[in-house]
Amino acid sequence: MKVTVKHWHAVAQWRWDTGSDADNTHPTNNEEEEGDVCGICRVPFEGCCPSCRMPGDDCPLIWGECTHIFHMHCLLKWIGTAASKQQCPMDRRPWVTAERRV
């Protein structure tokens, strides 16, 4: 017998490629858990920051050279405050946005 797929309407979730998770092989294990959250707003990366309504490309992430990741809007808001002294909220080192590897 030969099985030919003519059309496959599949369903998938998108995730940010944060480079951290090796759980690709166990997709369902991860289903229940919250996943990584933005340290500033505590909303999952795949959710959107408090000032956005649509997740994904409209509410992207930002990577620091220190490897810390936040919702871009959250980080920019923090950096914009005097109290931040332009430091990463995680390690209090000067924030430097990393070039995204593509």
């Binding site: 340290g39 500033i40 707003c41 505590r42 909303v43 920051c49 408090p50 000032s51 959250c74 808001k77 923090w78 405050t81 109290a83 931040s84 430091q87 909220p89 995680m90 209090r92």
Partner: protein, 220 residues
């Protein structure tokens, strides 16, 4: 729902779900921005066995501004005002970061109890006591824990109403014999306690402070 409220609600919920840290956050009134946190005194410290309550106010621009915290429970600690409960801790001031949470901040307070910083004091008298005689300081801190934080020994120990004289001396971190000596000269006990505390009449200091100096202060 605004971001601050959403985050605070989440933090309260997270804390409820986390049974291991033994840190509790409760509402004080209807507002989710005025809370009461509590945590057990760290083991191996004079605060062990006590439960310490902290008043929490969440500012408008949280989490970009630090939460305001102060102890409700009276604590004898160089970095905590023995009178007002105000806390001297960098993360509550300029070292604040939005990644800090109510829970992690309360944990920081808990660890502050483990490691006093007398060089950056909130309560100078307590700090002096600490540096003069750590043993005496710890005894006082333990006594405060018993009296104010429900620490061990309180129940079987002194009945507060009966032994209130002793209490005042212990709370001030002084020696009973010292207080009684000056009291026998005809001074009011409270006045004696007050002066000796201010003079840090403890440990090696006792030998350095002359009786005349004490009397001089008492006569002021």
């Amino acid at each position: 729902m605004d971001a601050r409220l959403r985050r605070v609600n989440k933090e309260i919920a997270d804390c409820k779900n986390d049974k291991t840290s033994n840190i509790q956050i409760d509402l004080v009134d209807e507002s989710p921005f005025h809370l009461k946190g509590s945590f057990p005194g760290p083991e191996g410290t004079p605060y062990e066995g006590g439960r310490f309550e902290v008043d929490i106010v969440i500012p408008e621009s949280y989490p970009f501004q630090p939460v305001k915290m102060k102890f409700i429970t009276k604590v004898y600690h160089p970095n905590i005002s023995s009178a007002s409960g105000a806390i001297c801790l960098d993360i509550l001031k300029d070292a604040w970061s939005p990644v800090l949470t109510l829970k992690s901040t309360l944990i920081s307070l808990q660890s502050l109890l483990c490691s006093p910083e007398p060089n950056d004091p909130q309560d100078a008298e307590v700090a002096k006591h600490y540096t003069t005689s750590k043993a005496s300081f710890e005894e006082t801190a333990r006594y405060w824990t018993q009296v104010y934080a429900g620490g061990p020994g309180q129940r079987k120990g002194k009945n507060p109403s009966k032994g209130s004289v002793h209490d005042d001396i212990a709370i001030a971190g002084l020696e009973r014999v010292h207080v009684e000596r000056f009291e026998n000269l005809g001074f009011d006990r409270n006045k004696v306690i007050d002066v000796l505390r201010r003079l840090n009449y403890r440990g090696s200091n006792v030998a350095q402070i002359t009786d005349d100096r004490v009397v001089e202060e008492l006569l002021k």
